[in-house]
Every structure is written in structure tokens, then in C-alpha cells.
């Protein structure tokens, strides 16, 4: 028993030393630290490409992937800890916030030749108007999903979520920004930026909705809708497409008054230590074939020209994953709002929910 323990321990220590020294050892290409959403790279399952392994093979750069769950989490770690991330994946409004607080650096686009393949619409977005700091990774819109066996008044807009006849069967975003965006649209406010007065109006709308709701959820929406336990829910349209493949009774709708076009982007923080490697990584992720592999995996849309054609035909043909241009013209993209307005919204949302 003791001998076995000794052997196991010494083996572990020896192997860990080997791993650590291999990490800091001679490889000139070095390593980069990537900070991304969880489950956001194609990982080689179901015949997809393992994009990280491919990048390491092609460039010899070792990639350390760590993951976060919300933009705010990303912001906190970037602004407080002294860890040096080389590539981060903030969403639209967070890109703007990081730029305004000087936490990210200007990119050398000459080192990202694939940037030429980024569709025009997704360059110079309002959150990075001159296109100096970010390269888009994925985009999609919010939408509505309903169960056709349970819903009588077929919804074509967000007001479906205020349908009295579905009392107790409706779901709502458990995420202040998304929930308020829907409520503000109902009040005739465009929710890219807003004031406290706008929040108050939307709060009333949300309070009116609350008695009709079953609950406030995020990823639980998948379970609720796929098992036909709820009648209607707002969610991200690409995910709605996934739900529909798992339950034939589900129908996805792009609300006619427009919705939130969100873009997750790649940026390089000021504190990055391997900027060359980071630029190579961003360029690699913007390659049509790689972008197609990633988007196939997460079922959001690719901002890279030529990627859509490489994606599974059913996915690429879906209006939910790739809403048509005319629809996108009706959409808005979140902008950064002042800290105190943002926290006011969060406080109000907590009050609504409780």
C-alpha cells in the first residue's frame, strides 16, 4: 500500500515537472492565453475540426484556453487581476466598454489578412466605429420560439410574450439586458442605449408581464421548450434552431419589429504578452473554413465571407441562424451604457423578479 502510494506520487511529480518544463521550454513560437466563452470552439466531435489542435499544429504556438460565462466576468478579470490574456472574446457593448477604459489595444490589421474576408456589415460596427480594436467572431439575433400544439394566437412579434391566454406557460430571459431590450421595444424605445427614464417605462412593462410568466430562465429554456413544458420563450435564434431539431412542434420566429443583433468579437488586451501570436490566432479564426467549423459547432452565424457556403446546408439555409439582410436592417446592437444606468437596470430587474 505505502509502496504503491510512493510510486504513484513520484510518478505524478515527475510527470508534472515534465509538463511544466515542456511548457516553459525552448519552443520559440511560445504560447498564447485565450479567454473565451465556454463551448465556443469546435472541438473535433461529430466530425468537426478541432480548431485549437489545428492552430497549434500549423503554427507551433501552444494555446491555453480558459473560459468565462458572462461579459461582466470577463471585464472583472481583465480589469483587476494581473493575468495577461492575449486574445479575449467580448460581445459588442463590452468591446466598447473595454475600448473606453483602455483595456484593449489597437490591432495591426496588416497581420490579419483574412480581415478582408469579413463581411462589410460587420466591420466598423457602432461599438468600434473606426474598426481599430476588434475582429468579429460570430453573430446572431434574438428571436421567439413557440410550441405550435400549445399556442393559438400565432405570434409575429414580441407582444406574444404578453399573451394572456398563455398565462403560466411563458418564459422570459433571466438576464437584465436582454429582458429590458424586449420590454423597451414594446414601449417604442430602441434599446441600444437608454436612460433611467427608459428603464422605468420598461420596468412597468415587465411588471405587467410577470403574472403571466412561468419563470425567468437562461439555458433552462432548452429543457423547457424541448420537452414541451412551456409554450413560448425568447432566446438566441441559433439556439432556437437547435431546439427545433430536437422537437418538431417548435417554431422559431424573428419578431417583425426587429431584435438584438449581437456580435462576439476578438480583441487583444493591453496586457497581452504575445501580440504576434494573438494576431496569428485571430487571423486563423477568421479563415472561412475554420470559421465555418466553429459556427457549425455553436450554430451562430459567421461574419466571414465564404464560410456560410461551407456550413451544413440546413443550418445555412435557416433564417434563424442567418437572418436575411432586410431583417438585419431592422435590428439594433447593444452599446455601452454608463455604469450607474447599468446597475440601476440590474437593481430594477431584481425587483421585478422578486
Amino acid at each position: 500500500m505505502k509502496k504503491i502510494l510512493c510510486i504513484v506520487l513520484s510518478a505524478v511529480i515527475a510527470m508534472s515537472c515534465a509538463v511544466l518544463f515542456a511548457g516553459c521550454g525552448g519552443e520559440s513560437a511560445g504560447e498564447i492565453n485565450v479567454f473565451n466563452w465556454g463551448e465556443y470552439f469546435a472541438d473535433g466531435s461529430d466530425g468537426t475540426v478541432d480548431v485549437i489542435a489545428r492552430f497549434e499544429e500549423e503554427t507551433g504556438i501552444k494555446v491555453n484556453v480558459t473560459t468565462f460565462e458572462t461579459n461582466e466576468e470577463l471585464y472583472n478579470l481583465l480589469s483587476t487581476s494581473n493575468s495577461s490574456y492575449d486574445v479575449v472574446f467580448p460581445s459588442d457593448y463590452m468591446v466598447e466598454k473595454l475600448i473606453s477604459e483602455k483595456l484593449v489595444q489597437k490591432l495591426d490589421y496588416s497581420k490579419i489578412p483574412n480581415y478582408n474576408k469579413v463581411i462589410k456589415r460587420f466591420r466598423n460596427m457602432p461599438y468600434d466605429p473606426k474598426g481599430e480594436y476588434s475582429v468579429p467572431y460570430s453573430w446572431n439575433v434574438t428571436g421567439l420560439v413557440y410550441n405550435k400544439t400549445m399556442v393559438k394566437n400565432i405570434p409575429d412579434d414580441w407582444d406574444g410574450l404578453w399573451d394572456e391566454s398563455l398565462k403560466g406557460q411563458l418564459l422570459m430571459f433571466n438576464n437584465s439586458r436582454d429582458a429590458y431590450a424586449i420590454a423597451m421595444q414594446q414601449c417604442g424605445i430602441t434599446p441600444d442605449t437608454f436612460t433611467k427614464a427608459d428603464i422605468d417605462k420598461a420596468t412597468e412593462k415587465l411588471k405587467a408581464q410577470k403574472p403571466l410568466l412561468k419563470k425567468y430562465v437562461m439555458d433552462q429554456t432548452f429543457i423547457e421548450m424541448e420537452n414541451s413544458q412551456s409554450a413560448m420563450a425568447p432566446y438566441y435564434a441559433g439556439d432556437i434552431y437547435t431546439m427545433m431539431t430536437n422537437n418538431e412542434d417548435l417554431v422559431g420566429v424573428l419578431p417583425k419589429s426587429g431584435s438584438n443583433l449581437f456580435v462576439d468579437s476578438m480583441c487583444i488586451p493591453k496586457s497581452a504578452q504575445n501580440v504576434e501570436g494573438a494576431l496569428k490566432f485571430i487571423n486563423f479564426m477568421t479563415d472561412p473554413e475554420i470559421s465555418a467549423a466553429n459556427m457549425d459547432y455553436i450554430t451562430y452565424a459567421s461574419p466571414v465571407e465564404g464560410a456560410k457556403e461551407l456550413i451544413d446546408e440546413d443550418v445555412a439555409g435557416s433564417e434563424l441562424v442567418y437572418p436575411p439582410d432586410e431583417y438585419l436592417d431592422k435590428c439594433y446592437t447593444f452599446r455601452n451604457v454608463d455604469e450607474d444606468v447599468y446597475s440601476y437596470m440590474q437593481e430594477q430587474f431584481v425587483k421585478v423578479m422578486s
Binding site: 466531435s45 480558459t66 473560459t67 494581473n82 490574456y85 430536437n246
Partner: protein, 262 residues
């Protein structure tokens, strides 16, 4: 009455194990959801192909083994040291060790992050494997102290003196008598440290830095998309490994008891 007590036991066991059984069943589900779509082993195959999960698993095990082994050594030494004090001093030391068990993980995590960040700026290092390991040793050590101390108190000190009288030098007497007597406590301390280190989320979250990720964080951040069934497969495997380990330990104990009986 007897039936009632049986029913009660059955219910408790049902509620304890049902979630795990459900998880194991769905690790064989051909589909990413809670809708049953037929039997498959593909999640197990995908699991071993997924380099991110595998490296997170390796990191988790590495930290758990090293942290619990080091904490066991430090904790045992500390317990023996604390026992040698008497009166108020001992009480003080013992409570100082216990307080860090009682303080919330968030407090420990944030304070460690602050300390490592400040130290990192001063001495030019980044948070990563070493800071996570140090943090885990820090929160594991008090558990070892806690489980070894009562054993020492019940140990007969004259055994140690007898060993010296019979020709052992101090090191031999310590190793063969003291450590042998304390072994059950040391082992419990080791196991406790190991499990705490294995499933720690909060403290790792704050001290991990930019290049190091463990399994608990990997799984937590998956909920943005949705938790992959690969995790079900991984959890099922871990559960099976734990059961096998428990059985082996129990069988060994039984055998040892029998030998003692003879």
C-alpha cells in the same frame, strides 16, 4: 414500525442516488438534450478526443494529488507541533487553524487573488498552476490538522518512549510508532483534502490566472451554450472510479481486520 424505517431508508437512498443514476443514463443518450433519442457511446468517445476537457481533467487531478499530499505532510507536522504546546497557546493555534476552515471560500479566494496580484506585480510572476496549487495547499492543510489532532490526543505517549528504550532512534520511533498510530487520521485528512481540492470552484476561480483551467470552471462556463453530454460521460466515469476505489479500500480493511482477529 420496521416497515416504516425500511421505507425511510429506501427514500433517503433514492434521493441521494437518483440524480447520479439519471446522469449516468443520459450519458448514453443519443442527443444533446433531456429527450431520449436512443443508446450511444459517442459521448465517451468524444470525451477522450476533447483536448480541452482532457487537459482540464489532468490539471484538476494534478493539483488535487499534489495539494493533498503536500497538505498532508504540512498538516501532520502542524498537528504534532500544536499538540506539544499547552494551555492558551495551543488553543490559540488550534483556533487559528480552524478559522480558515470556517471562513467562506469567497473571502479566501478574493484575498488570495489580491495577494497574488500584488506579489505578482512586485516579483514579476503571473497567476497560474503554482498559485492554484499554493491556494489549494492553503485551504487543505487545516482539514488535515483537524483530522490528525484528536488521534494524537488519544495516542499513548509512553509507546514512543518505549520504542526509544527498545533501541529505536528518534526518527525510527517517530516513523514506526507515531506515524503508524496516526495513520487513520492522516489518511482521512488526505482523503478530505483530495475531495475538497477536486471539487473546489470558488478559490480556483480567483487564483487560476490566464493559462490554467480546472474541470469545475470548465463545466461552469459551459452553461452559456449548454452543458455538453460529454460531462455526463465524464461524471459517470468518475463515479464508477470512486465506487471501485471504495470497494477496494473496504475489501482491504476487511482482510486486515480478519488478520487482526487471527
Amino acid at each position: 414500525m420496521k416497515k416504516l424505517s425500511k421505507l425511510y431508508t429506501a427514500l433517503i437512498i433514492f434521493f441521494m442516488y437518483m440524480p447520479i443514476i439519471v446522469l449516468v443514463i443520459f450519458s448514453f443518450n443519443d442527443g444533446k438534450t433531456t429527450v431520449w433519442k436512443g443508446f450511444t457511446l459517442k459521448w465517451y468517445a468524444d470525451l477522450f478526443r476533447d483536448s480541452q476537457i482532457m487537459s482540464a481533467l489532468w490539471n484538476t487531478l494534478l493539483v488535487a494529488v499534489l495539494a493533498s499530499a503536500i497538505a498532508t505532510v504540512i498538516g501532520t507536522m502542524a498537528a504534532i507541533g500544536i499538540n506539544n504546546f499547552s494551555g492558551k497557546k495551543r488553543l490559540l493555534l488550534q483556533n487559528m487553524s480552524n478559522i480558515s476552515i470556517l471562513s467562506p471560500d469567497v473571502v479566501t479566494g478574493v484575498s488570495l487573488m489580491l495577494m497574488f496580484t500584488i506579489a505578482g506585480v512586485a516579483f514579476h510572476f503571473q497567476m497560474g498552476f503554482w498559485t492554484v496549487l499554493l491556494a489549494h495547499i492553503t485551504f487543505c492543510t487545516p482539514f488535515v490538522v483537524l483530522s490528525v489532532l484528536p488521534r494524537i490526543r488519544h495516542m499513548d505517549y509512553s509507546l514512543y518512549e518505549a520504542a526509544l528504550d527498545l533501541g529505536c532512534n528518534q526518527w525510527q520511533a517517530f516513523r514506526k510508532v507515531v506515524v503508524h498510530e496516526l495513520m487513520p487520521g492522516i489518511f482521512t485528512g488526505f482523503l478530505m483534502s483530495f475531495t475538497y481540492s477536486l471539487d473546489d470552484f470558488v478559490i480556483t476561480y480567483f487564483t487560476r490566472g490566464a493559462s490554467f483551467q480546472t474541470l469545475s470552471i470548465q463545466i461552469y462556463t459551459m452553461t452559456h451554450q449548454r452543458i455538453s453530454p460529454k460531462i455526463n460521460a465524464l461524471s459517470a466515469l468518475m463515479f464508477v472510479v470512486i465506487i471501485v476505489l471504495m470497494v477496494i479500500i473496504n475489501v482491504k480493511d476487511r482482510k486486515a481486520e480478519k488478520r487482526m482477529g487471527e
